[in-house]
């Protein structure tokens, strides 16, 4: 119904504008009506010219993590639909599973995206390899909404390539019915009490990050001795780990199949909402602080539209809808002001700048050599549990089978000769 009203309104505007001599190929976009349709407050919306590309028939390809934007949910603004209505640009929204998948997709040229939202260390890697292009901030005035502490970050020191989208920390999630002590330290992930009930990250960077934090090393250490020590620690842990998981953790923790696991705070919030027995804590040794930021790859075909999209996602109410839907923390000052007070004061979701400075560290891109070394340590960790007897037993079986077949054939032939 609202849509119908919207169309009628736009048509009447169009009729009113016939004096313009029919230069407008598509109907004018009535900003107020669109904002009203999506329940957005025009007062809080910037007066950016969102409709200037409406006649160019643009399709914007967006790549994001799964469940990482407020879409397809009745209770929240559908961000992409609102953008489409406001700009006349079509959004082609795709999800990717990990930073590494995104990287390989961009590198192999298998997919062209206009917007990507990688994490900090991947942004610096992509920057270094010339996979991102500089943003034209004249097209992104809403970058002023971003908190100053999130500008000029370590991964993008001159703030030329990225605009922060959401951020969070790595926490320990535990099931209070299975853990009867106060968890405060990463040491709990190595506690034999929880043998068989511990889950761990199934990616090297995050898993090593925990070992590094526990041992008090820098999360970006390239020192081989330190990496070896982390690898030893993870091998020790492997004996008592139930499994290495990523998003499977939601089912396992919510269903009570595991007692304790590290994961991202925003997702911990979601899990705690679904199962009140769960709790999460930021370990005292410190943790990883990560930022996911919006970037435009060099292969992007619609740079201006992409910048418009970034600007749109920085609008106060849009950023609010996204951070409330996803559960991660927003770097957007105006959206932060609109949040509920208890969320704003939640130290695990919005810790003070001092806490972040003292207790957290951002991943930066490591040298190729250190990356490869970490990867090989990780492979050893994941693979080495195979029994050393596998290879010989298999070879013996294969040889035995070959011999058996040949002997059998020979016997058969002999028998047939009779």
């Amino acid at each position: 119904m609202k849509r119908l009203i919207c169309i009628i309104l736009s048509l009447s505007v169009l009729l009113y504008l016939t004096a313009c001599g029919g230069t407008a190929e598509t109907e004018e976009i009535d900003r107020e009506a669109v904002l009203e349709e999506f329940g957005l407050d025009p007062e809080l919306f910037s007066d950016y010219d969102y409709s200037r590309l409406k006649d160019e028939d643009i399709t914007l390809n967006v790549a994001n993590w799964g469940e990482y934007m407020s879409i397809n949910d009745d209770e929240s603004v559908d961000v992409n639909e609102a953008f489409e209505a406001l700009t006349g640009i079509t959004v082609n929204y795709k999800t990717v599973a990990s930073n590494e998948t995104l990287y390989s997709k961009l590198l192999s040229g298998g997919a062209t995206y206009d917007i990507v939202i990688p994490s900090d260390y991947m942004i610096s890697k992509m920057m270094k390899e010339g996979m991102l292009q500089k943003l034209d901030f004249d097209n992104i005035p809403n970058v002023n909404n971003v908190m100053p502490s999130f500008l000029n970050p370590q991964y993008d020191p001159y703030n030329e390539y990225s605009v922060p989208y959401l951020w969070g920390m790595v926490a320990i999630i535990y099931n209070t019915t299975m853990v009867d002590e106060e968890i405060t330290s990463w040491a709990s992930l190595w506690d034999e009490k929880y043998a068989g009930n511990i889950l761990m990250f199934n990616n090297p960077r995050d898993a090593f990050g925990i070992a590094q934090a526990y041992l008090g090393y820098s999360l970006n250490t390239e020192n081989k001795a330190e990496l070896d020590a982390c690898s030893e620690l993870l091998k020790e842990q492997k004996e008592i780990v139930q499994g290495y998981v990523m998003d499977e953790i939601f089912d396992k923790m919510e269903g009570g199949s595991a007692a304790i696991a590290p994961y991202y705070v925003g997702d911990a919030v979601t899990m705690c909402d679904d199962n009140p027995d769960l709790a999460y804590v930021i370990p005292e040794e410190g943790t990883n602080w990560f930022v996911d930021a919006m970037c435009i790859p060099t292969t992007a075909e619609n740079k201006e539209a992409a910048e418009m999209y970034i600007n749109f996602l920085c609008e106060a109410e849009i950023a609010l809808a996204n951070c409330e839907y996803v559960g991660y923390s927003t770097p957007n000052a105006k959206a932060y002001e609109l949040l509920d007070e208890d969320v704003r004061e939640d130290e695990k979701r919005y810790p003070s700048d001092e806490f972040l400075a003292e207790h957290t560290e951002v991943f930066v891109n490591m040298s190729d050599e250190a990356n490869a070394y970490m990867q090989s340590l990780w492979n050893q960790l994941k693979i080495d549990n195979s029994n050393v007897w596998f290879v010989p037993i298999f070879l013996i079986c294969l040889v035995a089978a070959t011999v058996a077949v040949n002997v059998w054939r020979a016997l058969k032939k002999k028998r047939e000769q009779y």
Partner: protein
């Protein structure tokens, strides 16, 4: 004759575009480095992953053997049932296959979890909980469950053609049950067995979803490692291609060995 040849053109084009060309690309990638130079490095690097490769093959063999042991009597029973029961049984066998593969494997996760259905039932009678998931047994179970129909169907289609009178003749001539299976059923259903073995072994040896979901990241198979080379942390399509190539050659070798077995039987008949 001419007509039939023209009819084959779409298939030939299809095979060319989607099998021969990708295969060529795999070989090309396997023997080059990222700078495009020809190298054998990838093949040597592969030896670091031999343990995983052998584990995959071992798991796949285990799954194939278990499938064969379960499928042989099952297919025999179905093929000897009356016509209505036969089609009912086949439909029952097919129904799970209409459900998405991932969903079926997810269902096993729910069943096997420490807090899952099976452990809860066992808990109600005072047993457990047992560690049923995230181990090699769970991975093999997943393979057997998912690929069992591929073994039963070819066996059934061969066995249904075995004339009941042949079996009766054997029995009349005084053959016992074991002899009947060994001398009559097994040789006559050999074509079905070799099709079934290939249909189960090949997807089992290269799977990566089952091991990830039921193995919990502690039982990675070669499929997981290959997948990681293309869309994971260690992005290296050259090494990934080398792995795929080595796997393919080993599988080919094993299949040819097995087929020798099969053809010999046919000759003996």
């Amino acid at each position: 004759m001419k007509v039939s040849r023209t009819l084959a053109i779409p298939y030939v084009v299809w095979v060319l575009i989607f099998t021969v060309v990708p295969l060529g690309l795999v070989i090309g990638f396997a023997f080059t480095n990222p700078d495009g130079k020809i190298t054998l490095e990838n093949i040597f690097e592969m030896s670091d992953y031999m343990a995983v490769l052998f584990r995959s093959i071992l798991f796949a063999i285990a799954a194939t053997v278990i499938c064969l042991i379960i499928a042989f009597p099952a297919a025999y029973i179905i093929s000897r049932a009356n016509a209505i029961n036969q089609s009912t049984l086949i439909v029952l066998l097919m129904v799970p296959m209409w459900i998405n593969f991932l969903l079926r494997t997810y269902a096993w996760m729910t069943l096997l979890e420490q807090n899952g259905v099976i452990n809860r039932i066992l808990g109600a009678i005072g047993l457990g909980p047992y560690q049923l998931i995230n181990n090699s047994g769970a991975v093999i179970l997943g393979m057997v469950y998912n690929y069992l129909p591929f073994m039963i169907l070819p066996l059934y289609s061969v066995m249904v053609k075995i004339d009941q009178s042949v079996i009766e003749a054997a029995q009349d001539l005084g053959s016992n049950k074991i002899r009947l299976v060994r001398k009559i059923l097994l040789p006559l259903s050999m074509p079905g067995i070799s099709t079934g073995v290939i249909a189960v072994f090949v997807p089992s040896v290269s799977t990566f979803v089952i091991s990830r979901m039921l193995g919990g990241g502690t039982n990675d198979l070669i499929g997981d490692i290959i997948e990681m080379q293309f869309s994971g942390n260690s992005y290296n399509p050259h090494l990934g291609s080398a792995m795929a190539l080595v796997l393919m050659i080993i599988v080919l070798f094993m299949m040819s060995l097995f087929n020798q077995f099969g053809t010999e039987e046919d000759v003996a008949l």
